[in-house]
C-alpha cells in the first residue's frame, strides 16, 4: 500500500510527463490503497478554511466574555466545564448557545446562497430569488397575527410558508430543465405578492403584535438556547453528506447545461438535489433566527475572493457565513447603546459590502 501524500498533481513533478509548468496549478492529491482511493484539494482553500475556523473560535471566546455580566477570561474554562454560580449559568445557558446558534445559522444561510448563486449563475443569487424568504415571512407573520403563535409553532409556520412557496416557484419555473432567468422572474413575482400579504397582515395587527412580528422579520438571535443548537447540529448531520455530493455536481453545473450533461451528470436530478439542499439550509436558518438579510448574498462572494479559486465552494462559504453572522451579532449586541437585532447589523454591513463590490468592479473594467 503506497500513499504519495502531497504530491503535486503536476506534470512538472520529477518523473512526470515532462510538460513545463504545473498541470493543476492549485491542486494537491492524496492517493491511498494503490490508487483506488484518491482525494484532491486546494491548499489555499484549506488555509482559508483553517484561518476562518480559528477566527470563529476567537469570536466565540469573545462572545463568552463580553456582556453586562463580566466573565474574566481566566474564569471562562471553569464556567464552561461546570463551575457553579452566576458565571457558569450565563456562559453555559445564555452566551454559548447563542454564539453557536449564530455560527450555525450563518453557515446555513451561506450554503444556501452559494447554491443559488451557482444555480442561477449570478452573484446576486439568494434564497429571496425563489420566494423562500418572502413565503417564510408571510407564514410567520400570519402565524403571529392571526393565531398568536410563538416558539416552535412559529418556526413551523414560517417553514411551511417558505417551503410551499419554494415548491410552487420551482414547479412554475422548471420548463425543459431551464433554471436561471425564468426562476428569477417567477420568484420575484410570487415574492412581491407574498410581501403584499405580509404588509396587509401587519397593518391589521394590534400594535404589540405588529412589533413582535417586525422583530421576527428583521431577524434576531435573542434568547437562542440549546434546543436551537440541537436543531442546527441535526441539520448539519443530515445535510452535510448531501452537500459533499452536491459540491461535485456544482462544479459541472457551472459549465452550462449541455457540458454538464455531456460529462455524464443527470442534470434534472442534480438540479433538484441542489435546490432542495438550498431550501433545506435556508429553512433551518430562518426557523432559528428569522430571515436575517445579506448573509446568503455576501458570504459566498467573500469566500470566493478569499480562496481565489474557480466557482464557489460550499465549505468555505459556510465557514465565512458562520463568522460573519457571529461577528455581526457581537457588534449588534455590544457596540450600540442598546442592543440591536442582528438583522439590522447584517443589513448595514451588507449594504456597505455591495457598495464596495460595485466600486471595485467599476475600477477593474
Amino acid at each position: 500500500m503506497s500513499a504519495d501524500v502531497g504530491q503535486r498533481a503536476s506534470a512538472g513533478a520529477p518523473g512526470a510527463l515532462g510538460a513545463p509548468g504545473s498541470l493543476l496549478a492549485q491542486g494537491r492529491v492524496l492517493r491511498l490503497a494503490g490508487g483506488r482511493l484518491s482525494l484532491r484539494w486546494r491548499p489555499r482553500a484549506v488555509v482559508v478554511g483553517g484561518t476562518v475556523l480559528a477566527l470563529a473560535a476567537g469570536l466565540v471566546l469573545l462572545a463568552l466574555v463580553l456582556g453586562d455580566f463580566a466573565v474574566p477570561l481566566d474564569q471562562v474554562w471553569g464556567a464552561l466545564t461546570g463551575a457553579e454560580g452566576p458565571a457558569g449559568t450565563v456562559v453555559r445557558e445564555l452566551r454559548l448557545p447563542r454564539a453557536l446558534a449564530a455560527l450555525g445559522v450563518g453557515a446555513a444561510l451561506a450554503v444556501s446562497g452559494a447554491l443559488f448563486q451557482t444555480l442561477v449563475r449570478n452573484p446576486l443569487g439568494s434564497p429571496e430569488l425563489i420566494g423562500f424568504t418572502q413565503g417564510a415571512s408571510a407564514g410567520a407573520v400570519a402565524g403571529i397575527v392571526v393565531v398568536g403563535l410563538t416558539g416552535g409553532a412559529l418556526a413551523l409556520s414560517a417553514l411551511g410558508g417558505g417551503v410551499l412557496t419554494a415548491v410552487a416557484v420551482y414547479l412554475l419555473a422548471v420548463r425543459r430543465g431551464l433554471l436561471g432567468a425564468r426562476l428569477v422572474l417567477v420568484g420575484i413575482g410570487i415574492g412581491a405578492m407574498l410581501n403584499a400579504v405580509t404588509w396587509w397582515l401587519l397593518t391589521r395587527a394590534e400594535l404589540a403584535t405588529a412589533r413582535t412580528a417586525t422583530v421576527w422579520l428583521v431577524g434576531s438571535l435573542n434568547a437562542k438556547g440549546w434546543d436551537d443548537v440541537t436543531l442546527l447540529v441535526g441539520a448539519l448531520v443530515v445535510l452535510g453528506p448531501l452537500a459533499l455530493v452536491a459540491g461535485r455536481a456544482l462544479r459541472l453545473v457551472e459549465l452550462g447545461d449541455d457540458v454538464a450533461r455531456a460529462l455524464g451528470l443527470g442534470l434534472r436530478r442534480a438540479q433538484l438535489l441542489l435546490v432542495a439542499l438550498a431550501v433545506a439550509a435556508v429553512a433551518v436558518g430562518v426557523a432559528v433566527a428569522g430571515p436575517v438579510p445579506f448573509i446568503a448574498l455576501v458570504a459566498p462572494q467573500v469566500a470566493r475572493r478569499l480562496v481565489r479559486g474557480p466557482g464557489i465552494g460550499l465549505g468555505t462559504s459556510a465557514l465565512v457565513g458562520a463568522v460573519l453572522l457571529l461577528a455581526a451579532d457581537l457588534l449588534a449586541q455590544h457596540v450600540p447603546p442598546t442592543a440591536l437585532p442582528v438583522g439590522v447589523m447584517t443589513g448595514l454591513l451588507g449594504g456597505v459590502y455591495l457598495g464596495w463590490l460595485l466600486r471595485r468592479d467599476g475600477r477593474r473594467t
Binding site: L17, A19, L37, S38, R308, G311
Partner: protein, 263 residues
C-alpha cells in the same frame, strides 16, 4: 474497438415543433463525418439527439446496438464526448482546472484524481497545444485558444466518439484551419468524429463522410467527391454555383455564381 453510432427511425422535437422526422443515419465507424445544411435544417438538433441531450420523440439513437437513452448517463459519457456551442467557463478558472473537469465520468467521491486522470489531462492538453497555457485564466484567452481548451476538456474525457457542434464558429480563418487540422489528427488516431460545419469547402476538405441535410431529413450522404455537386447545392441551399476541384486538395470546391456579372 470500433463503435457504431446509429440513428434509427429517429424523430426529434422541441415541445410540439418536430425538427427531425423518421431519420436514419449510420455513422461509419472511425470516420470523420461532417453534417452540413442550410440554417434551421436540423443539423444541430441531430447532433444534440446523438449526444442524448434531446430525448427522441420516437425511434432511437443506438451505440453498439444499445439505445443511449436507456444507458446510464455516466456510461454514455465515457464513450461519447460533445463539444457544444453553449459552454460556460466559471470566472477565473485556469486552463488546467477546466480541462481536468472533463474527467468527471471517470471519477467518484472517493476517487477524485487517479494517475489515469493525470495522464489523460496532460495528453489532452499536449494534443491541443495548450500545455503552456495551463495556469492562465480561461477568461484571458483569445477565441481560438479558448476553443482549443474546450476541445482539450472533451479529449480528456477519453471517448472513442466525438461530437462537435460548429467547432469553428467565431474563429478567424487561421484558427478555423488550426482546429480542423487538429480534428483531422484525432480522426487519424482512430476516433470517430461527427462535426456540424457551415463552410461547404472546409467540409469537403476534411470529411471522409459528408451528410447533407435539409428540412430535417438527409438529402444526400457519402464521400464528398460524390455527394457535393452543383445540382445538390442548388437544390438544398437554393444557390446557383459551380463546383470545381480545390486547387490544393482536389476535393470539390463550391464557387457561387456572381449575382451581377462583372463587365
Amino acid at each position: 474497438m470500433t463503435h457504431h453510432l446509429v440513428a434509427s427511425d429517429l424523430t426529434l422535437a422541441y415541445d410540439r415543433r418536430v425538427v427531425i422526422e423518421n431519420l436514419d443515419l449510420a455513422v461509419p465507424p472511425e470516420s470523420f463525418t461532417v453534417v452540413v445544411g442550410p440554417n434551421a435544417c436540423g443539423k444541430s438538433t441531430l447532433l444534440r439527439g446523438l449526444a442524448r441531450l434531446l430525448a427522441p420523440r420516437s425511434g432511437a439513437v443506438l451505440l453498439d446496438g444499445r439505445a443511449v437513452h436507456t444507458m446510464a448517463t455516466r456510461e454514455v459519457a465515457r464513450r461519447i464526448g460533445l463539444l457544444p456551442q453553449s459552454a460556460l467557463a466559471p470566472d477565473q478558472i485556469s486552463v488546467a482546472d477546466l480541462v481536468a473537469r472533463g474527467r468527471y465520468p471517470h471519477q467518484s467521491l472517493l476517487r477524485q484524481w487517479s494517475a489515469a486522470d493525470e495522464v489523460a489531462v496532460a495528453t489532452a492538453m499536449a494534443l491541443t497545444d495548450v500545455t503552456d497555457l495551463a495556469d492562465r485564466p480561461v477568461d484571458e484567452l483569445s477565441g481560438g485558444q479558448r476553443q482549443r481548451v474546450w476541445l482539450a476538456l472533451v479529449l480528456a474525457q477519453e471517448t472513442p466518439v466525438l461530437l462537435l457542434d460548429e467547432p469553428t464558429t467565431f474563429l478567424d480563418i487561421a484558427h478555423q484551419v488550426e482546429v480542423l487540422d487538429l480534428l483531422a489528427d484525432l480522426h487519424e488516431q482512430g476516433r470517430t468524429l461527427v462535426a456540424v460545419l457551415h463552410d461547404l469547402n472546409q467540409a469537403a476538405r476534411y470529411a471522409t463522410h459528408l451528410v447533407v441535410m435539409t428540412h430535417g431529413a438527409i438529402a444526400a450522404q457519402g464521400p464528398p467527391g460524390e455527394v457535393l455537386t452543383a445540382a445538390l447545392v442548388a437544390e438544398v441551399f437554393g444557390l446557383p454555383c459551380r463546383v470545381v476541384p480545390d486547387p490544393v486538395t482536389g476535393t470539390p470546391m463550391v464557387v457561387p455564381e456572381a449575382r451581377v456579372r462583372v463587365r
